[in-house]
Symmetry: C3
Subunit: 338 residues, 3 copies
């Protein structure tokens, strides 16, 4: 059901190919051919689907998908004709399969005549630069990069190999690793919010740091990452940041940190490896979020968070305490009413 | 008091014209001529104004507006010289009148020489395309459309007739109806946040759906709408979405849904017809918000919301319960203190 | 430790120069020479640093900075070799010093051949207009302004002298003072969210006001400021607005208002001089925030706030009440559990 005007299909796979790619076990004939992936509701007999959320059990039971990644416990609920690919991690298995059917198109080398590139800029082999992109002096763009239309890259920025920078981004004061994926409308490297309240006025504090971005980072549309005030702002390898996120000056993200949409990370806060931050979370400045910590959506974080802990609420507390507080208050309000 | 450098005035109207246009009753001579609209504070004798919020009763009582839309109950507070246009819905009456005095200027056909348009793109009759716009292969742009400066439209996107797309937007993987109004800096069709936490790394989940936008939709500046992950992201006819809103993959909005600024709607959530969402509301994923439901500003929604219900708070509860909880907690805190 | 590829250093200063510039007292020889500023952790013997937050006392005690701005009470914690610049306001003193070492580069006059400027537009002396900028009819741009790449300025907009407008901004229906600093991706002047729910449909309310911006205003990346609905939206002199902020129609900010990232100010709300708004605060419409009021991060404001008061929570209450409520609820939940 994928609209092939928008997505390129790399060709069919056998069930055996898929089982092997994803490390899943199958009970049936591995030679059956599949042509793509699709959601449970609209998959056909040539499609692979997945069940990862109990809410979709009914859709699973009624799906016409030819095959489906599924956890062992839901096997009894499957339609009779469905081939089952049994795994403890159906979402990852689906992801790997979808990547194989619909790979990212390769970058087609070429510099648009409407791009404006400073003479001292160095553009690597095989790079693509779209119309209206403006590339400043001494910028270094790695090989195989794709710079989207009307994106503006300021003087001296360095971009590693095989990065894809979407349309309408701005990048300044930044050094970026390899295979970084920036979606559209992202702003990296602007002044942090450095404001010293003076006696009669407000004094602007010069922002003299950079933004350092590791390898394999993905950043969502409309997100803003301010450069450091003196130290650098650092985004570690493999971080995934969603849309419309604000990252303040001097923030340090470790590796594989996941940040959902519309979060705000205030200046000088450090978030360690593998932390997962839900949507619309606000984190105050100068805090330390430990490795693997999880923050529920809409949390307001005003204290350090220990490694591995799960917190929620505003001000954020351990998630069990938050649930207990919510229930307690609801009961008290009901009692008072009576 | 409207600055006519910025707004084109289409000419005078009689009081009778206005009463007839808005279905309001007047007690006075219908031939009196008015030249425009203005707020209560700065309206003159040739202007029409409106009173829609009790907070402005004093401004109403002191206004020099020649005429004013007003609910029956506020008639006694009116200045003696003011002509009263009595209606139960002064804001809508004002809106219709303002539209007549200051209509949107017609689109002046023409393609700027600095636009970059792929040869296979089809641009309808009477369309206007501004400088720096970049239009991809096989894009279809309807008749009478206006594409703003430096906006980027990727391959195969379809835009219906009489749409107005502001400057600096990006659109990909999308099919759009008629008379859609996009303000500036809007990003439609980028990858949703599909992240499967793997054993040693994070696996990117290909996003293989589209964005389908109905007729008469209006979307505010800086808003991001991700394309579907497999299903499509759907925005129904007549939806009004404010600035800096995040709409995740697979979200489905019914018709005439109103979403205020900075809301975040997580993936796969469905919002039915006529729901109204206040500013900065966060809604978790895979939920169902019923038709006509209302969510107070700053709510954090973690459960389904029944049709027609009004909820508030984080986690959101029925609005009366939220108010009761707020009052209960305030009292308890005060008691403890004593 | 400042990366001089990105920042221009204006030359050395003596300790005496710095003490005199910042009004700080020194006990040592004023002739010693310093070459720049740096954070405590990475400063060397030729750098000036500062201590402004107790969290960094350890870094202070171990710093190799040649000199440091510090409050009197922390003097005993200083390393022996560090020259101390004693002041009650180390952050402002640092800011002034950093401005002297690393001044904003002057604007280099010149209009890029790839800019698109209407014939009737007036561009002041010494202005710089970057590639891809699109300037409409009758626009007036003051002397010494810098208009960033691919920024779009609509007809009749007026921009005062010495403004710096970053890349990828849109500006319409606006009149702007002098020395305004807009970072990137800012949208000013689009339609406010004027929606009148009609009987069968939604009626768009024409937005007939402007945006008036005073002198010395600084606005962060991705921020949106809607034009007025009838009255104007007004941003007073010296306001500092961070990234991804939403300012609704008819909002009035006094002078030197500070608004942190991701705040949303709803329509027709007035915020008086010197108020300070923390990150992610939401303020409902038609409210009045008094002069010098402070709002804690993540507050949801539903009532007027008195001048000078500090509020927090959602719904926001005086900050002491909020802390008390938080503690009370935590205790009650714990009691219930036992």
């Amino acid at each position: 059901m994928v609209d092939r005007r928008f997505f390129y299909n790399a060709g069919s796979l056998t069930l055996g190919d898929i089982a092997s790619l994803t490390g899943t076990s199958i009970a049936s004939d591995g030679s059956r051919i599949f042509t793509g992936v699709a959601p449970l509701e609209c998959a056909g007999t040539d499609d692979i689907s997945f069940l990862d959320n109990v809410k979709y059990l009914d859709a699973f039971a009624q799906s016409k998908a030819g095959a489906c990644f599924v956890r062992p416990k839901y096997v009894p609920r499957a339609p009779k004709s469905m081939v089952l690919l049994i795994t403890d991690d159906p979402y990852s298995a689906y992801a790997l399969t979808a990547q194989r059917f619909y790979p990212e198109p390769a970058v087609t080398a070429g510099i648009a005549p409407q791009a404006v590139i400073a003479k001292s800029a160095v553009v690597g082999k095989g790079a693509r630069i779209d119309p209206g992109a403006v590339i400043g002096e001494h910028v270094r763009i790695g090989s195989g990069c794709w710079i989207g239309a009307n994106t503006v890259i300021d003087d001296n920025v360095e971009i590693g190999d095989n990065c894809r920078i979407g349309a309408l981004c701005t990048i300044s004061h930044a050094i970026m690793g390899k295979r970084v994926l920036l979606h559209r409308g992202i702003h990296i490297g602007q002044d942090g919010f450095g404001v010293a309240p003076g006696p009669k006025t407000i004094i602007k504090v010069p922002q003299l740091g950079r933004v350092l971005i590791g390898d394999d980072v993905e950043i969502g549309a409309g997100t803003c990452i301010d450069r450091g005030a003196g130290p650098d702002t650092i985004i570690g390898d493999g971080c995934k940041i969603d849309n419309l996120v604000q990252i303040g000056h001097n923030v340090q993200l470790g590796k594989y940190v996941i940040i959902a949409a519309q979060c705000g990370i205030s200046g000088s806060t450090r978030i360690d490896d593998g932390a997962m931050i839900g949507g619309q979370v606000g984190i105050a400045g100068h805090l330390h979020i430990g490795a693997g910590a999880k923050l529920a959506a809409c949390s307001g974080v005003m204290t350090d968070i220990p490694p591995g802990a799960t917190y929620g609420g505003a001000p954020a507390v351990p998630i069990k305490d938050w649930h207990r507080q919510t229930v307690t208050l609801a009961k008290l309000a009901k009692t008072k009413e009576e």
